[in-house]
């Protein structure tokens, strides 16, 4: 269990985020993105491609989960400065994914105290599907504590 009052330091773990992937949200995202790729909503198209018939979650949703995790920890959605990830696998409808992060560096810059974090998203019972690193400016009102 993390210590809510401990100061952030190298090695501090970001509170993890777990999400159950809902195919109905993929349909909303496909519409918001004007994304015609049928693997996100059309099970017949998936079968024709020889894929699992569960729709494949959009990449922006997967990376958005990690950004949400970082924003909640750092003190708001306006705290993200940089976010860099590599997509390593698919997340399917019904999967439970878990986002994790760990502070690897800290520095002060004109925007405040900036934490660099390694981040990853894994399918529970499966593989890491997204990994990379991010920078967030920590909330001077107490956000970003472990």
């Amino acid at each position: 269990m993390s210590d809510k009052t401990a100061p952030v330091e190298v090695g501090t773990e970001v509170p993890p985020l777990e999400v159950v992937v809902d195919p109905e949200k993929m349909k909303v995202m496909a519409a918001l993105l004007a994304d015609p790729t049928p693997i996100h909503f059309d099970t017949r198209a998936l079968a024709a491609l020889g894929m699992d018939e569960r729709p494949v979650n959009q990449g922006p949703l997967n990376m958005g989960y990690l950004q949400t995790m970082l924003a909640r920890w750092a003190g708001g959605r306006d705290r993200l400065l940089d976010f860099r990830v590599r997509f390593q696998g698919n997340v399917l409808a019904g999967d439970t994914v878990r986002g994790t992060g760990r502070v690897t560096a800290l520095r002060d810059d004109p925007r405040g105290r900036v934490a660099t974090c390694e981040v990853a998203l894994e399918v529970l019972g499966g593989d890491v599907v997204l990994s990379g690193d991010a920078e967030v400016v920590l909330d001077d009102q107490g956000g970003g504590q472990a």
Binding site: D22, K25, D35, T37, P38, L61, Q67, A71, R84, N90
Partner: protein, 152 residues
Amino acid sequence: MSDQEDQRPVPRDDYSDLVGREFPGGSYTVEPWRTWLVADALLDDPWDETPHPVLAWMAGVAGMGMTWDDLFAWFDARATDGPVFGEHRTTLHRSLEQGATYDVSGRIVSVDRKVGRRAGAFDVVGYELDLHHGGDHVARCYNSIVFPRRNA
């Protein structure tokens, strides 16, 4: 083979001539309903009026001035080929603001043909998108798309 299959575009061996090609560009407004729906799709708080940072990339692709099908067609690919993301980077120089309209520009920055043992041949296409507001550079998003080339 169906008529549709007969009409499939035939991929070229090399698309490096497209590196540097600019998107038409355009603009994107972070409307409150977009902030709400994006947060809800992410199972985040839809009543938080601060736009979710994933909207930087969404603003870029929505304002790049062409559709996904248009972009896929530059590389003789289609949505039904199963293109997927490779890598992504978002750099935010300023926070996004609900209600703000961002000018969008972007370009193709790389194209690489690769061959995997299991995946076979595929092209990795990198592109970047810039958001500007009131003369300020607000964000840059880099993304790569992997196009399967099953018959290459």
